[in-house]
């Protein structure tokens, strides 16, 4: 399927052709004052011209948040976050970034080059404040028209609230309620924007929906909220993220993603994320706390999460599936890489409620340098989940003797006809394997890359093609300096 290739190529060619439309900026009051209280919430809601019900929804979330405490995990070292010191709303365009690529960290530029990112896009990604680098509006328009013909809605959250309030109201918070957890509550109170998609019954979305061409608009993607709905018998594939390291002055990212798949529908959600990991000592990196959950509401619904995560000083995310419908299917494929001083605590939750529900988990962790990689998963089979099936495979690859890999699966079964199987292995890249590759003429870096890709193969093949190629390059870049 070349849909995604088409998408990206069109986008790239447009950016190279030049722009007819300038980037629209419309700024009155720029920023909310720092701090978080009910006034901040009202300010945000007013700025976005939201209906009352949504303001009330945000406030309810905020009140719930006030009663919660930030979670602590044994193996993550978090410098305390001062929630009152941050700004929770700022206009999309602010000239605080570097004025040209000359001012950008050369390491970053080298990475863009290795990942094959075209010149024009490097400026946007590096945060250079240029007027019109990337015209997301015209590109978005072209695709929206095509999708509209099929009845597919794909737009920003803000637009969805304005144009399709009923749909949003029906589904928002039904998979991740406001009081689900600390960061979800915070997100529900102050979410800035995000993606919304609705695919009508029986429709197969012809292209991969991607945030790729929303890079500019999503600059304030600190508290993103995404809601995807696949109606009965429909199919949609969604790509999130980008291989280029995303810098951001915002230390904390707390996003929420809700997926709803009705009977016989399928949602494929892929993420390739390369958050800026901070310098080699881990300073300045991004804290990435995400609540991602999919509900298979109807019979035979299917939700697949595929992710390649690297960078990020701290990643905490557990994409989950709630398998409500009978014969529903949940899948989780993940590669998590930690190098230098990165820490990742990731995994998934599969909750089996419907009969004959099935889940598959394949998690590959690669630790190098002083990275610490933890897989934390939950497979829970509820009493009514007759015939539930799960298979989990967690493998850790350790590169060097100063890193760590931890596997912590929770398996909780309340139905006798369920079958749950879990396997985990830990290994290293063998000296023998490295030498074998070198004896065939491969450099040590290429040898590591080859072996690591082999290790991650099962996960990488689940990614849409374009992403898979980027992901492989990303693996190589992330592991630089880890061997020898």
């Amino acid at each position: 399927m070349t849909a995604s290739t088409d998408t990206v190529q069109t986008v790239r060619s447009l950016s190279q052709e030049g722009y007819k439309y300038g980037f629209v900026t419309d700024i009155e009051a720029d920023e909310a004052p720092p701090g978080l209280n009910e006034d901040t919430i009202r300010f945000i809601s007013a700025k976005k011209e939201e209906p009352d019900w949504l303001l009330e929804w945000r406030l309810a979330a905020f009140r719930a948040w006030l009663k919660m405490t930030q979670p602590n995990w044994a193996k993550l070292h978090l410098t305390p976050i001062d929630y009152q010191a941050a700004t929770y709303y700022s206009a999309p365009k602010k000239s605080t970034g570097p004025k040209s690529l000359d001012e950008v960290d050369p390491e970053l530029l080298r990475t863009y080059e290795k990942l094959g990112i075209p010149l024009r896009e490097r400026e946007a990604l590096a945060g250079v404040a240029v007027d019109a680098v990337f015209d997301s509006i015209s590109v978005a328009t072209t695709f929206k028209e095509e999708l509209a013909k099929l009845g597919i809605i794909f737009c920003s959250m803000g637009e969805a609230v304005r144009e399709h309030p009923d749909l949003v109201r029906r589904y928002l918070g039904t998979v991740v309620p406001q009081n689900d957890n600390f960061f979800a509550a915070l997100n529900s109170a102050v979410f800035s924007d995000g993606s919304f998609a609705y695919v009508p019954a029986g429709v197969r979305c012809p292209m991969e929906l991607s945030t790729y061409f929303r890079i500019n608009a999503a600059k304030s993607g600190q508290f993103e909220r995404t809601l995807l709905i696949a109606d009965a018998g429909s199919y949609v594939s969604y790509l999130e993220g980008c291989t280029a390291p995303q810098r951001d002055e915002n230390q904390l990212h707390a996003a929420v993603v809700e997926l709803i798949a009705h009977a016989d529908a399928q949602i494929k959600y892929s993420t390739v994320q390369n958050w800026y990991p901070g310098d080699a000592e881990g300073r300045g990196g991004i804290y990435n706390f995400v609540t991602k959950r999919g509900a298979c509401r109807g019979a035979r619904a299917k939700i697949s999460w595929t992710q390649v995560e690297t960078g990020s000083a701290i990643t905490w995310k557990y994409p989950s599936c709630v398998l409500e419908g009978d014969h529903s299917v949940g899948e989780f494929y993940s590669v998590a890489i930690t190098n230098n001083c990165q820490q990742a605590d990731t995994g998934t939750k599969m909750i089996h409620i419907g009969k004959d529900s099935r889940s598959t988990i394949v998690a590959k962790g690669i630790s190098a340098g002083r990275g610490q990689n933890t897989y934390r998963g939950l497979v829970r089979v509820q009493p009514r989940a007759q015939g539930a099936r799960n298979h989990t495979q967690c493998d850790s690859l350790l590169i060097g003797d100063r890193c760590g890999a931890h596997t912590v699966p929770y398996i909780e079964v309340r139905n006798p006809s369920a079958r749950v199987e879990h396997e985990a292995t830990t290994s290293k890249i063998g000296e023998d394997q490295l030498f074998y590759c070198r004896q065939r003429g491969l450099s040590p870096e290429d040898a590591v890359s080859l072996i690591v890709n082999g290790f991650c193969k099962e996960v990488l093949k689940e990614l849409p093609m374009e992403f898979a190629v980027e992901a492989q390059k990303l693996l190589a870049v992330s592991l630089e300096g880890s061997v020898g």
Binding site: G430, E431, D432, Q433, F435, Y436, C437, R438, Q439, R440, G441, L442, S443, P444, D446, L450, I451, N453, G454, F455, C456, K457, E458
Partner: protein, 255 residues
Amino acid sequence: MTAVVPMLEIRDLHAQLADGREILQGIDLSVNSGEVHAIMGPNGSGKSTLAAVLAGRDGYEVIAGEVAYLGRDLLAMPAEERAREGLFLAFQYPVELPGVNNMYFLRTAINAQRRHRGEPELDAGQFLRAVRAKLKLLEIDQDLLQRAVNVGFSGGEKKRNEIFQMAMLEPRLAILDETDSGLDIDALKVVAHGVNQQRAPDRAIVMITHYQRLLGYVEPDHVHVLQGGRIVESGDKDLAVELERSGYGLLGDAA
């Protein structure tokens, strides 16, 4: 008339393990283009150490001596550079690379070597054609190639895979480390056939072996006996036959 530069010239090579045990205690060996040499010896004589040191494996320290490969200082080159210069080692225990597709691995290696030599890389079509020809030669099943490198291969399949790689990479100097160990007679014949097909005037082959078996099928020009880390005797193929008959003890305390 230009002097013939030996393919491989080893002079007084001493090498020890990381724990200080000296295994190679003064090896002298000269291999010319077009020749096939056999190095035989009992267990512990240093055969595998020699192969490892020539290929550039970590864990060994050369404490004296020199090795010239096509006139260049071999010991100064890292392992992958030696490979790209045409030195091939067929491993005694080929390692497994889970998830790494056999074909993909081979093509990556071939192109790395071609790039080094300034030759154009092989595209998918060219590569496939070359593969098919060599597959037949070594009686390797097509679908073995679709699998991960050596994963789930029997002993014989692994050894044939090594010689298949040799055929694809077309090295100048091939070192075969106990390639015949663990093979039944049929596999041995196939492997020997594959090796023989690669004899050429501009190539040299060094077979390291404990038994005489392989040498019956791949006839060596020179046979050397390695014992106690030194070459204690050299001769032609008849020496191998005699060793087989009388055993290594015949050499007494030559070490």
